[in-house]
Subunit: 161 residues, 6 copies
């Protein structure tokens, strides 16, 4: 049986933390689908196409990873692509609490889909897309947090605002 | 002495989690008043009248429960209706932290009013009105989370948006 | 219907924190039974009789509080004395986690018995019998934590060791 | 590539919570090895042979699960059996904190071995072997927590003490 | 070597909780700079000048405390004023989690700057500027939470809205 | 005014985590006293002399750090050596909860003594003396956690047991 996992998120933009989780997921599953949510409530900094492009570039080294987009609930996408599990990266304790609640909700909607957690590297364990957008807008050097091409695009995007 | 409790919230909409807490509160107090806050900051999905109607319908089976609305601080309402305690339902650890802070604040404003916590059933321990509104708007089946009449109204309300 | 609550513990010795919870419970229930567990695993500092005597003295001011002892599971004692609920005092977040687990276990053994939580006063929110025994044995002044008669007995008990 | 996971513990005795995690692990990995630690510090209630026998019986229904024992560090056993990952079941928030610390330690000792977390079913999320031993010794009915054959053996083991 | 600390925030408005932390910081450092962030995202209730005025008034009693404003990242301000450390007040457990994440981020941006935490007094440990603005707008008596002059200004500011 | 801090513990044995906190404390205070508790309840692996020797060796590089021992309560030692503050290192969330409780207790016994927290480096944030003793006894390589001389002594001490 082929084991297929889905790593869903808004990736606005992709960070080294995300890539660390993707690397771990690529080893855990035969195929890992990185799925960008199209219907996030807040207006994203990057367009869906930009976010997809950055993800494809950043995950090019992984043979068994592909990038996709989805609309609606993540568990419905998992079923649609015949995956077995949702992959989540745990960063901090407080992170886990909301992850826990989301996983329990997903289990109610789709008891057949497992949520699988891996731990991000400690060095990436406290970064988030929101934090990076904020730090970038305050003039902070974010090169430790995102790949170089993403850093450049973030700079441009923030300059436009 | 008659023991009277107040269970305050925005109930937008009422969920099986709320009803589970109400059932427990109805056994703990001689009278339980379910009090809908009229001055919540975010624009609610349902009008005050709709929320009240759904609550009255859903709590019809409890003889010692009545539904009311209040403006201002919950502790002032507790005093006005000569109740002894605020009832709160605990769902998760992270939930408890904000509950704890709110209860401490209420104690400062009204040292004579006790906040009493009961634990919601595990099966309802992770649902919230916000989660249900979100899931509903993404096309999820929310029939496990709210009474049938609420589910129908939620469907209509989300379709209008 | 008469509402009767049980506040169970080892009370080795009773602290101002316990007495604060007892005061709140005495207002919440028509009758509150403070129940000393006789089968605690670790060897207690005080004998059962000493603990009972200290509790009776310290709770003398509350008309609707009585002190008892129990063997076995707390929920079985609750049933035996025809009480409706177990009262617990919440002191800190970490406290709540173990309280939560114990309450869930009790619910499995006895779904008809509610666990009801009240918040201890902030000033007593971090003290515990263990802490007081430790501080006392290190020569700390524990008069802020326990009633004067308990402080005297603690001093004697620690001197004997 | 065959994906092999290890689920290590003392299983003193195996509970429905463990079996729930094993079921989830059996779906996540091509092979799951349930590994009983032989060098736990506290004196176990059941002998190694008894714990192994109960686990073999309780996991008979899973084709890709086998039971083994290990001495020393779990990560060394993972390497010895050429597995890729340690499986852990998350039960509560407080549980996760110690799990998190253990997983970080394991990562330091063995960076190539991933720790993978799945969530136990809510109904089993608060039970532990220790709790069951305690409840059993207090005369509680533990049939909701462990398989019938384990319940019988636990009764006998506690009667002997 | 002179030890200089920075206590940064939006202070909208300053509370007794802030002042408690400032008092502790004034004892810990040779000089403490209270730094008001000018670029907070949400529209503040008080103007920068009002917030500065209230802080200067409220900290007049401390000889080694001065009030300043800053734009951009707090760590850049710490460097600019040749301070050694960022001072933070811990109020609750949940508070600490976000503090922890912020401090880790700051450490990445500026490894040479230490974040130093002190514990606010228990009686101020649950109040926040947001809570006070909310309570004030609901008609609550906030005189236990802020200095009298701040209370007056808050009343006026909320009346205008 | 000279600022003097005390960093108290059992240091059984000193770890890279402790040394990281000591380095930070040496920058925060004019003088830092590392104080070994002589009255820890559990029987230590190393004698007081061994622990002191390892600490003196490991902190030789810091001019303003000296090692001492104390009996009784840490706050009494702080007063005796005319220090202003207790230094504590925060490692994880769960760590903070017990730290918080200890600091509040200390504040009750000695309101004039501040507890000051710094964050250990992430890479040392999950190690503890207990964990290292355990890992060492299971044959794990602990060279990433303690200085080389400590590692050697630990090996010998565990071999003797």
């Amino acid at each position: 049986m082929k084991r297929r996992g889905v790593y869903a998120g808004s990736f606005d933009p992709v960070t080294y933390g995300h890539l660390d989780v993707i690397k771990r997921g690529a080893q855990l599953f035969d195929e890992l689908i990185v799925a960008i949510a199209t219907n996030i409530s807040k207006s994203p900094l990057f367009t869906l196409d930009e976010r997809k492009e950055m993800l494809i570039e950043s995950t090019a080294e992984f043979d068994n990873v592909r990038v996709d987009t989805f609309d609606g609930m993540a568990v419905d996408f998992v079923r649609k692509v015949k995956a077995n599990a949702l992959l989540r990266g745990i960063r901090t304790i407080s992170d886990f609490e909301s992850e826990f609640q989301m996983a329990l909700t997903n289990r109610t909607f789709a008891p057949d889909i497992e949520t699988v957690f891996v731990m991000a590297s400690l060095e990436y364990s406290f970064i988030s897309s929101r934090l990076i957008r904020e730090a970038g807008s305050l003039g902070g050097d974010i090169s430790n947090f995102v790949p170089p091409t993403v850093a450049k695009k973030l700079e441009k995007a923030l300059a436009k605002k």
